[in-house]
């Protein structure tokens, strides 16, 4: 439990830094386990309040249960929920059969960029973790994006001790990553410790399958698992050698690197 409190202290510190330094701040919430833990940490940091809007970039292909869960928590926790959607691309019929990277770029990356531009957010808090996949391991806690929302991973500004990059030229924005040091197991341990409500898609309901990572319905496949409780998930994760995002189609090949350089979450 001590290690979870240490992670929590660090994340809370980062969230408070973000809130102090950014006048137009928002947090991305995909309703998955990570961004929901992030949301909970915001309630920790601000003593039960969430003093900035939560953004959901809705691709329209999300699993319906996720939308129900989103609206329920937004109501119960009195969240300021902002839903964005790349309506133009959807009207033109964008879907995953046009190519996964193409579809992710249109509906998620561009959907996010449109939302940021429209609302003028200068700081965006995201729940990415360093251990998820290779490109995220190169991230800073406070990571600048240029005018096009692009990420120059080769030339990132220094980040020293608890001092983060909080000033930036007009037209650019900063991505803030309070969960960078958390692992998948930590997320579940914390959900258990704090009793955080999560979507039951992560649990096996008797069919021998569950989701380990949640995305759009067509591009996310469940894994074989009989884990029916958080304890069983943790136990399973302690023994697996399968990558967390193996059920996520966008990670195949060089997909994630291309997407993230372009400003994907």
């Amino acid at each position: 439990m001590k290690h979870l409190r240490q992670l929590e202290d660090q994340s809370v510190y980062i969230l408070r830094e973000a809130y102090k330094h950014f006048n137009n701040l928002a947090m991305l919430w995909s309703m998955g386990k990570d961004s929901t833990v992030l949301l909970w940490l915001a309630r920790k940091a601000f003593f039960g309040h969430v003093p900035f809007p939560l953004l959901h970039v809705d691709t329209s292909y999300k699993i319906p249960a996720m939308i129900e869960y989103r609206d329920r928590l937004a109501r119960e926790w009195r969240l300021n929920l902002v839903v964005g959607q790349n309506k133009e691309a959807l009207a033109a019929g964008m879907n995953h059969t046009m190519g996964r990277v193409v579809c992710c770029t249109a509906l998620k990356t561009n959907g996010l960029k449109q939302l940021l531009e429209h609302k003028g957010y200068t700081g965006v808090i995201l729940g990415v973790r360093a251990d998820e996949e290779g490109t995220r391991a190169k991230e800073r806690y406070f990571s600048p994006r240029d005018k096009h929302g692009d990420w120059d991973f080769r030339d990132q500004p220094p980040e020293l001790w608890d001092q983060y990059k909080t000033t930036f030229p007009p037209g650019t924005h900063i991505r803030i990553h309070p969960l960078l040091d958390w692992t998948e197991i930590n997320i579940w341990e914390y959900i258990k410790l704090e009793n955080i409500p999560f979507i039951d898609l992560y649990l096996d309901k008797g069919e021998g399958i569950r989701y380990r990572s949640l995305g759009c319905a067509p591009c996310t496949t469940p894994i074989k698992s009989t884990a029916k409780t958080v304890d069983e998930i943790i136990e399973e994760l302690r023994h697996t050698t399968v990558a967390e995002r193996s059920g996520r189609a966008q990670d195949e090949g060089r997909g994630m690197e291309l997407l993230r350089k372009d400003g994907y979450m």
Binding site: Y13, P157, P158, L160, R254
Partner: protein, 614 residues
């Protein structure tokens, strides 16, 4: 060999540093493979691709997640960035690529709890080996081991290893850095990584993994005196919560806290937390917490809370060791933003004592700039007093970064307090504030009642520049607007309070300014906006203004400088008036400045914004 390992809960952040080609990626790949931390089939997959393309398999290929870092054609779906070993997950803080390597290495090391420093046995100790060793020490990474790699290329010779160990230990010894271990390895062949080398029976020390296992989680700083830099003040609901991360020591409900540099004090009423039952009553080093106080004092981000027995230093200058990473060189007398813990203040480099060559620690003097990737010893001077500690006593409050334009461009550790000329007055103010007897009415009560905060408007300038006239006009205007303002004229002190002084004593600016400052301090405590001039001090107005500032601190001082022709105003002047004065315009500018500083509300009659962070 496969080790059956279950994923543990404890994490340790480590960084691997050293000269670019000394084998970092190979060591990492080997650590992953030997601890069985690779996803299923990845090792075999990369081996198969190598075979297909007719090249030798290298462990480095397993780790380099980015295309550009890889040999062409070898793609890994997922690079995990941690490995497991005996009840712990080791998280690798990776520095991408070779370009800008030092900057990334420093960012990684500043986040690390422990480090491995690699030296190539064939090439020996190189410049980067030394630079990285020195920087680890400067960055405060105390736990590290030196891994002498590529022992296979030198025939596993003990004398080669010992030669490197001797040379490098001597180098580290110059700045008192002591590695926990020197380990001879071949990352490529797996000697002394997870498994003891059969090729080097002469080495009986710990393997790399055993060494990592011996590293401790962050040392407890809870036994040190309390340091809690204020991060923010929240008022989301009825509670006014002071938040911060405890950098050292511990606190509990009922503790008497002193905030530096403002010297404000209050007792902790509650410790606040969300979803923790029962409500906590204490906190200790490492925790991000929130407290409420029994007195509604106005404290700001950047102040350091401590107990009265162990206060941090307060000054406008300190000496430091700094490394510079900025795109443009650090220049003497240029302005930078200094950040010490949560405090942000403008500063300038008062002097660059020497540039330190990290290769041989030789010192080069007489430079006016510090170039990118150089380390220097220098003195920084801040615009307003800052609370800090020496890095040797307190890590978190003893280090700082400098921001140049938009980026953090350098960092360093504070090595020495530099005494400034305000030291004695500051000490007087501190002792006086600690003993100050308060009534039932608080500063905030008065501010609410009056609709504005207390402040001092101090008009400086040479003779016959219109200071007195402007002061009178401003007082009149403020009172007409319904503010509580008072003109403090030096003449009135001279014949009363200063009547005990003889002519010679009255000529001493220091004592006269001290008396003047203490009277102004009393008046600001009554909640007034004090309007005054430095007339009684004649041409010694700079010295007097500084003393008054120190004594009325933390009440805001709005410094106005008047001159007939353009001239350099004293440091920290807020409103500069030169040439023929338009007194109405000047009054309006001062009132705008009072609004900007949060002393007055934007509109008359409105409740003022006290800059609480809500």
């Amino acid at each position: 060999m496969t080790l059956i390992e279950t994923k543990p809960s404890e994490n340790l952040n480590i960084v691997i540093v050293g000269h670019v080609d000394h084998g970092k990626s190979t060591l990492l790949g080997r650590l992953y493979a030997d601890t069985d931390s690779l996803p299923d089939g990845k090792l075999e997959k990369v081996q198969a691709i190598c075979k297909q393309q007719g090249k030798d398999f290298e462990y480095a290929f397993l780790f380099d997640a980015f295309l550009e870092e890889q040999e062409q054609g070898i793609t890994i779906d997922t690079a995990r960035t941690f490995f497991m070993w005996k009840g712990r997950q080791y998280i690798i803080i990776d520095a991408p690529g070779h370009k800008e390597f030092l900057k990334n290495m420093i960012s990684g090391a500043a986040r690390a709890e422990a480090a491995l420093l690699l030296i190539d046995a064939l090439e020996g100790v190189k410049e980067q080996s030394k630079k990285h060793g020195y920087l680890l020490s400067l960055l405060g990474v105390r736990q590290f081991a030196v891994v002498v790699n590529k022992m296979d290329l030198v025939g596993y010779r003990q004398d080669v290893f010992e030669g490197i160990e001797k040379e490098y230990r001597e180098f580290l010894g110059q700045f008192k850095a002591v590695p926990s271990q020197f380990i001879p390895v071949s990352a490529k062949l797996g000697d002394n990584i997870a498994n003891r080398s059969k090729q080097m029976p002469w080495y009986t020390g710990a393997t790399v993994l055993e060494t990592l296992g011996g590293f401790q989680k962050e040392a407890a700083r809870s036994e040190q005196p309390l340091r809690m830099p204020v991060q923010d003040v929240y008022k989301f609901d009825a509670r006014r919560i002071i938040t911060g991360r405890i950098a050292a020591g511990r606190l509990k409900v009922g503790d008497h806290l002193v905030f530096s540099p403002s010297n404000k004090r209050a007792n902790i009423r509650t410790v606040e937390a969300f979803n923790i039952e029962p409500q906590p009553a204490e906190g200790q080093a490492g925790q991000s917490i929130g407290v409420t106080l029994d007195d509604q004092i106005f404290v700001e981000r950047g102040e350091i809370a401590s107990h009265q027995e162990h206060l941090p230093s307060v000054s406008t200058a300190f000496r430091a060791n700094l490394f510079w990473l900025g795109k443009r060189p650090l220049e003497k007398e240029r302005k930078y933003l200094l950040r010490v813990a949560t405090k942000e203040v403008d500063c300038e480099v008062a002097s660059i004592h020497r540039i330190i060559d990290t290769m041989d620690l030789a010192q080069q003097q007489g430079s006016n700039t510090v170039n990118k990737n150089q380390v220097a010893e220098l003195t920084l001077r801040t615009k307003t007093p800052v609370a800090f500690d020496l890095s040797a006593s307190f890590e978190a409050t003893g280090r700082f970064v400098l921001v140049d334009e938009y980026d953090i461009a350098g960092g360093g550790i504070i090595t020495e307090l530099v005494h400034d000329d305000q030291e004695f007055l500051r000490e007087e103010a501190r002792r006086r504030d600690f003993a100050w007897v308060k009534g039932e009415v608080t500063v905030e009560d008065r501010a609410q009642q009056y609709g504005h905060r207390a402040a001092v408007v101090l008009i400086t300038g040479g003779r016959h520049t219109g200071k007195s006239f402007l002061a009178r006009k401003l007082e009149g205007r403020l009172v007409a607007d319904g503010r509580h303002a008072y003109l403090l004229d030096g003449e009135n002190l001279r014949r009363g309070l200063d009547a005990d002084l003889n002519e010679e004593e009255r000529g001493q600016t220091t004592e006269m300014a001290r008396r003047y400052g203490e009277v102004a301090r009393l008046l600001t405590d009554t909640g007034l906006i004090v309007v005054s001039t430095t007339n009684p001090f004649g041409l010694a107005y700079q010295e007097a203004a500084q003393a008054i500032r120190t004594l009325v601190h933390p009440a805001p001082v709005i410094a106005v400088h008047m001159s007939k022709t353009e001239e350099e105003p004293p440091p920290n002047t807020d409103v500069v008036l030169s040439g023929p004065t338009d007194f109405d315009g000047a009054t309006a500018r001062i009132i705008d400045e009072l609004k900007r500083r949060g002393v007055l509300a934007q509109a008359i009659g409105a409740k003022p914004v006290f800059q609480y962070s809500i």
